[in-house]
């Protein structure tokens, strides 16, 4: 008699990616997201190296046009083969400016989601694991920050400390952590009821140690789909701040502020405002598709709020 052994392979990340690629909409999203972050990394490195070597031209070495050089004879050209997204009032190529601005958005999305997970994760996991008064207070604090509409709170913070990229980043982390605190708390309460946590408590591990060893990992995996989708939310939100003039300051290009600059030329020269807006839309849709797909593969709650 032969003994049949079914080996259940552990699901690695490569496996997850393959399953994601099987659905056309998710695959589309994944390709866009991957292209966006890959491009941002290349362009970001070029800009940083260019700044270090005192040779800013390196920042637009890969772009079709110099994003800063005005060409007044070319101003407000409609989208064409030469200028895929048209040109702005100074005749600068909008596509080049959009591509030049990509690294700022990529960076802020990663930093804000990361910061939100760090702060919200700590507050939420402690609340969920300790319970009682600690939980009451932490969740009150969370509700307090959620009581402010996100954009208003970010505006107040920037009004107090100053306008600019770094301030926008700080303001957004302050706005972003509460939703992660709620997610992590719910997740911690779920994991806490497992037998192995009781075993760990009996074996004398301290509670913070149990959170570190046994709760962070499962909680993070469940939250991953939401965090992926959230990258797009951050980019959307940052574009709103930048639209209001609270992001990267001119002359640096920025998706949201380009839309705001284009308002003066709207509706006749519509592409000036609409094109950067469409880019934001596409990136946000792509992250949402990937987040949705990840949730189907990894499991976890349907959650958009």
């Amino acid at each position: 008699m032969t003994l049949e052994v079914t080996v259940r392979r552990r699901r690695g990340w490569a496996d997850v990616v393959i399953r994601l690629l099987k659905k056309p909409d998710v695959a589309f999203g994944l390709v866009i997201v991957a292209l966006f972050y890959a491009w941002s990394m290349v362009e970001g490195v070029l800009q940083v190296v260019g700044a270090l070597l005192n040779n800013p031209a390196l920042g637009w070495a890969l772009l079709p046009y110099n994003p800063f050089q005005p060409h007044l004879s070319q101003s407000l050209q409609p989208p064409s083969i030469l200028h895929i997204m048209g040109t702005d009032d100074l005749g600068r190529d909008i596509l080049s400016r959009v591509l030049y601005a990509a690294p700022y958005d990529a960076l802020i999305s990663l930093v804000v989601v990361g910061g939100g997970i760090l702060i919200g994760g700590f507050i939420g996991m402690v609340a969920g694991f300790y319970g009682g008064g600690v939980e009451e207070f932490n969740m009150w604090l969370t509700d307090l920050f959620l009581a402010f509409p996100a954009l208003i709170l970010a505006m107040v913070i920037e009004a107090t400390f100053g306008h600019g990229y770094i301030y926008a980043m700080i303001a957004m982390i302050v706005v972003w952590w509460p939703s992660y605190a709620r997610l992590f708390r719910a997740e911690t309460i779920r994991v806490r009821s497992m037998k192995y946590i009781d075993a760990a408590l009996l074996s004398g591990l301290s509670r913070l140690e149990i959170i570190r060893r046994h709760i962070i990992r499962p909680a993070l995996i469940t939250i991953l789909p939401y965090a992926t989708l959230d990258l797009g939310n951050v980019i959307l939100f940052y574009s709103m701040l930048s639209f209001l003039g609270l992001g990267q300051q001119p002359p640096l290009p920025e998706w949201g502020s380009m839309v705001a600059l284009g308002l003066e030329y709207f509706p006749r020269w519509w592409w000036y405002s609409i094109m950067p807006g469409l880019v934001i839309l596409i990136i946000a849709v792509a992250t949402a598709l990937v987040g949705d797909g990840l949730r189907d593969v990894i499991g976890g709650e349907e959650r958009w709020v």
Binding site: F148, I152, M155, T160, F266, L281, V285, A288, L289
Partner: protein, 337 residues
């Protein structure tokens, strides 16, 4: 727990949150701010102005004295004097807040209608083309930056087709009604100022629809999933067996019950819409609270920024409170607690 203990419990929570909001803005503006006097006076203020500001806001006193004055003035809705508008901040808010509330109210009605019907439609056609189309629609509208939604609507409906006016709150050649309730459309109605009433209604549609467009997705999702649960319920199966026609079951029998979870979302949608209205008002030149806030921000008018945000925070807490109470009143099955 009776309904009244529940309401009182929620009211106490709401009050604590409002206190928290005031303290939070105090900490931001008096403790964390690098130099409170300069922040309150603006970066280009003269030394004499700074001295006046320090006296006015008691910035030379110990921090708990400052907190006391701040709390008392915030709880009496006294937010100081706006250096840019040369008017008390509370008066400014009394003018601009109703305009935004009017916009948001219309937008919330639209959001509710669109969300509930698309959700019901998606549930009726679960896993068929209707469902996928609705999903694609709300995914796109959800991911749409508010300014893009507003600009596209403005471009096509106002500029290309000329159906609705592209911006402003009403036709500027018309005489505005007196300030009665503060809601321009309602004031015009009370005064019997019909031309202004119609004009302000027409000017409301596009901005309200833009706000609705970026936030209906969440209501679609919740309606769809609660509708799917409702369609499995016994009373729906009984209706099917009695031979009630399918559309009637979905849109009459099941819809009523699936709308209950939507109520809890309304407070959340309200909060988003306040954020969204800041952007939408800029694009449609609709002079509401969002316009006041951005103008104050650009002109370093700090008292106005703080005053607006405290009032907005309080409004969101109240909206949450109302939603909680409504939820309990409408659905007696809810476990109160």
């Amino acid at each position: 727990m009776s309904i009244w203990t529940y309401v009182i419990n929620r009211a106490v929570r709401a009050f604590l949150l409002i206190l928290g909001i005031i303290v939070l803005t105090f900490i931001l503006s008096h403790v964390l701010a690098p130099n409170p006097a300069y922040v309150w006076a603006g970066p280009h203020a003269a030394p004499s102005v700074i001295q006046a500001i320090i006296r006015e806001y008691h910035l030379d006193q110990p921090i708990y004295v400052q907190l006391y004055y701040y709390l008392v003035s915030a709880l009496t809705f006294n937010f100081g004097f706006s250096p840019y508008f040369k008017q008390p901040v509370s008066e400014l808010i009394a003018i601009y807040l109703p305009r935004t509330l009017q916009l948001i109210f219309v937008a919330m009605v639209l959001t509710g209608l669109i969300g509930v019907f698309t959700g019901a439609f998606a549930a009726e056609h679960k896993d068929k083309w209707g469902d996928y189309t609705v999903k694609a629609l709300y995914l796109i509208s959800w991911c749409m930056p508010p300014f893009l939604a507003a600009l596209l609507l403005q471009l096509f409906i106002a500029y290309y087709w000329g159906v609705l006016p592209p911006n402003l709150m009403a036709d500027p050649t018309l005489a505005a009604p007196r300030y009665i309730t503060g809601f321009p459309t309602i004031d015009a109605l009370i005064e019997g100022n019909w031309p202004y009433f119609w004009s302000s209604l027409k000017h409301l549609i596009l901005p309200a629809f833009s706000l609705a467009l970026i936030s209906f997705g969440v209501i679609t999702r919740i309606t769809r999933s609660s509708m799917l649960t409702a369609l499995q319920a016994d009373y729906v199966r009984a209706a099917v067996m009695r031979g009630v026609e399918k559309g009637r079951i979905v849109y009459v029998h099941a819809l009523k019950n699936s709308m209950i979870p939507v109520i809890t979302l309304l407070a959340l949608v309200f909060s988003w819409m306040i954020s969204g209205s800041v952007i939408i008002e800029t694009i449609f030149s609709y002079n509401g609270l969002g316009w006041l806030l951005t103008t104050a921000l650009y002109n370093y008018d700090y008292p106005t920024v703080i005053g607006c945000s405290v009032v907005i925070g309080i409004a969101v807490v109240l909206a949450n409170f109302i939603a909680d109470v409504l939820y309990a009143v409408i659905d007696p099955r809810i476990k109160l607690g």
